[in-house]
C-alpha cells in the first residue's frame, strides 16, 4: 500500500451543549491513499459529517472543539496547523462539495465569478487565465456551452447543473482530496447517477482521493474502494467495500443493509413478509460511555457485551470491526 495521503488518528470532537459537553466523534481513525475512494456511511447524527468538517478544519465554533487526536495530511498535523495555513489548504489541497446546491451558491454573483473567486483565493494568476480556467472546468464537469453558462446566475440553472458548478468550484484548484458530503441527496436518481459518474471520472483523470459521505448504502457500495460505517460518533466497521457490504462483521452494518427495501430482494418477498429492522432508536450521545453503544439494540448482545470496553477488532489486514463477537467468529 502506498503512503497514506491523509491519516486521521484517534480523533475526538466534543460539543458544548446546555447539558454539558457531548462527544460527537469518539476515537475515529482512518487513512486515505491517493486516488482512493473512501465511503463513510451512517444515519443522521452518527458523526459522518462532523468527520469531514474536522478534516476541513471547520468544526463549528465556539461550541465544537477537537478534544484529541491527529489529522495528518502528508505528514502535517492539521489539528495544530494555524488558521492561515488551513486557509491555504482549504479549497486548494483539500476541497469539499456540500449537500445543498441551492444554498451553497451565492445567488447574487454569476457562477463564473464564484469559481474565479475560488482560484484567486489560492493562486496569483491573470484575469484572462482565470477566465480560461473557469470555462475549462465548467466544460469538464459536463456543462454544455460553458462560456455562456459562466455568466449566468445560480437561479438560472437546474439542481443538477448547480451541483456540477459546485463540483467545478471544488476541483478548479486541482485538490488532492475531495470531500463530498451527501453530494446527491438533494437530487433525483437519474441526476444522481450522472453526478456520481462525473465525480468518479474526474477522480480518475486527476488521481484525486475522494471521501464520499452518504446515508445511502447503495451509493456507497457502488462507488467506494473502502467503506467506514459510523454509529453514535464511532467508526464501528471499516474495510474494503466488498468485505464490509458482503461479509459485514458488525451487527449494525448488517442491520443497516438488511433494512433497505431493495427492489431485487423485495421482488422475492411474499405479501406477508416484513423488512428486517433494527429495533429502537439511535441513542442519546450524552448517555454514552466506553462500552458498545449498539448493545441495547443488538440481537446478539449478551451481558459481557454490556461491560466490554469498545476496541477495534482486526479480522484481517484491512477489515476491522468494533464488535466483541466479531473476534471469535460468533458473528459471520
Amino acid at each position: 500500500m502506498t503512503e497514506p495521503l491523509l491519516a486521521v488518528e484517534n480523533l475526538c470532537v466534543d460539543f458544548a451543549t446546555r447539558s454539558g459537553p457531548v462527544r460527537v466523534l469518539n476515537d475515529v481513525s482512518f487513512t486515505l491513499a491517493p486516488g482512493e475512494t473512501l465511503g463513510i456511511v451512517g444515519e443522521s447524527g452518527c458523526g459522518k459529517s462532523m468527520t469531514s468538517l474536522a478534516v476541513m478544519g471547520l468544526v463549528p465554533r465556539p461550541n465544537g472543539r477537537i478534544a484529541s487526536g491527529r489529522i495528518l495530511f502528508r505528514g502535517e498535523d492539521l489539528v495544530r496547523a494555524p488558521a492561515r495555513r488551513m486557509r491555504q489548504i482549504r479549497g486548494a489541497a483539500i476541497s469539499m462539495i456540500f449537500q445543498e446546491p441551492m444554498t451553497s451558491l451565492n445567488p447574487i454573483f454569476t457562477v463564473g465569478r464564484q469559481i474565479a473567486e475560488a482560484i484567486r483565493l489560492h493562486e496569483d494568476v491573470s484575469k484572462a487565465e482565470v477566465r480560461n480556467r473557469v470555462v475549462d472546468v465548467l466544460g469538464r464537469v459536463g456543462i454544455p456551452d460553458p462560456a455562456r453558462r459562466a455568466d449566468e446566475y445560480p437561479h438560472q440553472l437546474s439542481g443538477g447543473m448547480r451541483q456540477r458548478v459546485m463540483i467545478a468550484m471544488a476541483l478548479v484548484c486541482r485538490p488532492q482530496i475531495l470531500i463530498a458530503d451527501e453530494p446527491t441527496t438533494a437530487l433525483d436518481v437519474t441526476v444522481q447517477a450522472q453526478i456520481l459518474d462525473l465525480i468518479l471520472r474526474l477522480q480518475q483523470e486527476e488521481n484525486t482521493a475522494v471521501i464520499l459521505i452518504s446515508h445511502d448504502m447503495g451509493v456507497i457500495s457502488q462507488v467506494s474502494d473502502r467503506v467506514m460505517v459510523m454509529y453514535a460518533g464511532r467508526a464501528i466497521e471499516k474495510g474494503p467495500c466488498r468485505d464490509v457490504v458482503e461479509a459485514s462483521a458488525h451487527p449494525y452494518t448488517r442491520g443497516l443493509i438488511a433494512c433497505i427495501p431493495d427492489i431485487d430482494r423485495t421482488e422475492r418477498m411474499a405479501e406477508s413478509d416484513r423488512l428486517p429492522t433494527i429495533p429502537g432508536i439511535v441513542p442519546d450521545l450524552r448517555a454514552l460511555g466506553e462500552t458498545c453503544a449498539f448493545a441495547p439494540r443488538c440481537a446478539l448482545a449478551d451481558a459481557a457485551c454490556e461491560a466490554w470496553k469498545v476496541a477495534p477488532i482486526r479480522l484481517d489486514d484491512a477489515h476491522v470491526a468494533a464488535c466483541r463477537k466479531a473476534a471469535r467468529g460468533i458473528v459471520a
Binding site: D188, V219, P261
Partner: protein, 331 residues
C-alpha cells in the same frame, strides 16, 4: 386498471397553475402540474405513484385530498364524487379520506399535545363522545406502537420516527376508507424507515386499509405497493402490477429510472454502466405537444415529438399493464 372492486376511481384529474406571467408569444405561462390523470384503487390495496421531483405526484395526492385549489376531474370515493363537492358538503366527507405527510416535524401542530392531536379529527367530524374519543386515542397510540401515557407530551419531545407514528394514528382516527401517504418515509433514516413501512403494512393487513402511496424511491414502492403508476411531467407513462413493471419495465423512462437506482452491490457496479439519462426533466410550463419524455428519450423519433401517446394496454411477460409510448413492447 379498471376494477369493479375499486374504492377510489379518479378520472381526468387535472391541476394547472397560472404563473401570472406570459411567454415570448404572449401566451399565459401555465404550469401543467397534473395533466389528465386517471386511476383506480382496489379496497385494501396500495397504489404507488413514483416519479422525480416536480413530476406532479404530490400535487396528485393533494388534489385527491381536495387540498389544492383549481383541481378538475372526477374523484369517486365509494360512490361519492369528491370532485363535485364544496364547502360544508365536502367537509362532512373528510372523515372518509385522510393524509399522512412527508415531514414529521411540520405536520404536527407544535402547540398541541399528542392526545389532542389525535382527538382533533374525531372532534371535528363529531365522531363519538369525549369519553369514547379518549379511549380511541389510547387504542390508536397502542396500535402504532406508542405508549398511551405519551398522549400528554408535545410533538417536539418525540423522534422523527415516533412523530410519524403519531401522524399515522391521527390519519387512522376516523376510520377512513382511503389514506393518502405523501412520501411518508422520505424524511427518515433507513432503519426507522423500515420500522414505519412495516407498521403501515401491518396496519393494512389488520384493518384492511387502502393506501395511495407517493414516493420517489422505487425500493419503497416495490415493498409497499400492489400496483404502481410511473409519473413524468404531469402524466402517467406506465401503470400496472408493481412486480411486473419492476421485472420488465416497458416505458423508456421507467427503464431509465430503474437502472439509475444505486443497488447495494459492491461487485456488480451496474450504476456506472447504466443507460443513463442526460439532463434534467424539462419544465412543466406550457409543455410541448407530443410525448413529454421525448426530449430525453434515447428512442425518440419525429412522431414522438408531435403526437402525444395515450396510455394503452400492453402485454409483456404474460402480464398486462398500460404504457404511454408509441413503441411500447417493440423497443
Amino acid at each position: 386498471m379498471t376494477d369493479g372492486d375499486a374504492i377510489l376511481r379518479v378520472r381526468d384529474l387535472t391541476v394547472h397553475f397560472d404563473t401570472g406571467t406570459r411567454d415570448a408569444e404572449g401566451k399565459p405561462r401555465v404550469v401543467h402540474a397534473v395533466d389528465g390523470v386517471s386511476f383506480d384503487i382496489r379496497r385494501g390495496s396500495t397504489l404507488g405513484i413514483i416519479g422525480e421531483s416536480g413530476c406532479g405526484k404530490s400535487t396528485t395526492a393533494l388534489a385527491a385530498m381536495r387540498l389544492v385549489a383549481g383541481a378538475r376531474g372526477r374523484i369517486d370515493l365509494g360512490g361519492v364524487d369528491l370532485g363535485g363537492l364544496e364547502g360544508e358538503a365536502l367537509r362532512r366527507q373528510r372523515h372518509r379520506f385522510q393524509i399522512i405527510f412527508q415531514d414529521p416535524y411540520s405536520s404536527l401542530n407544535p402547540r398541541q399535545r399528542v392526545g389532542s392531536l389525535i382527538r382533533t379529527p374525531m372532534a371535528l367530524q363529531d365522531q363519538g363522545t369525549p369519553e369514547t374519543r379518549d379511549r380511541r386515542v389510547d387504542e390508536l397510540l397502542d396500535l402504532v406502537g406508542l405508549r398511551p401515557e405519551t398522549r400528554h407530551l408535545f410533538p417536539h419531545q418525540f423522534s422523527g420516527g415516533q412523530r410519524q407514528r403519531i401522524g399515522i394514528a391521527r390519519a387512522l382516527a376516523t376510520n377512513p376508507d382511503l389514506i393518502v401517504c405523501d412520501e411518508p418515509v422520505s424524511a427518515l433514516d433507513v432503519a426507522i424507515q423500515a420500522q414505519i413501512l412495516n407498521l403501515m403494512k401491518d396496519l393494512q393487513a389488520e384493518l384492511g386499509l387502502t393506501y395511495l402511496f407517493i414516493s420517489h424511491d422505487m425500493g419503497v414502492i416495490g415493498y409497499m405497493c400492489h400496483e404502481v403508476a410511473v409519473m413524468y411531467l404531469g402524466v402517467f407513462v406506465e401503470t400496472g402490477d408493481t412486480r411486473a413493471i419492476l421485472a420488465a419495465p416497458a416505458h423508456p423512462y421507467t427503464r431509465a429510472l430503474l437502472s439509475a437506482i444505486p443497488r447495494v452491490d459492491p461487485v456488480n457496479r451496474s450504476l456506472m454502466a447504466a443507460t443513463r439519462l442526460s439532463g434534467d426533466p424539462p419544465s412543466p410550463v406550457n409543455p410541448a405537444p407530443g410525448c413529454r419524455f421525448a426530449a430525453r428519450c434515447p428512442h425518440a423519433v419525429d412522431r414522438c415529438r408531435t403526437e402525444r401517446p395515450a396510455l394503452r394496454p400492453v402485454t409483456l411477460g404474460g402480464m398486462e399493464r398500460s404504457v404511454a409510448c408509441h413503441f411500447a413492447g417493440e423497443i
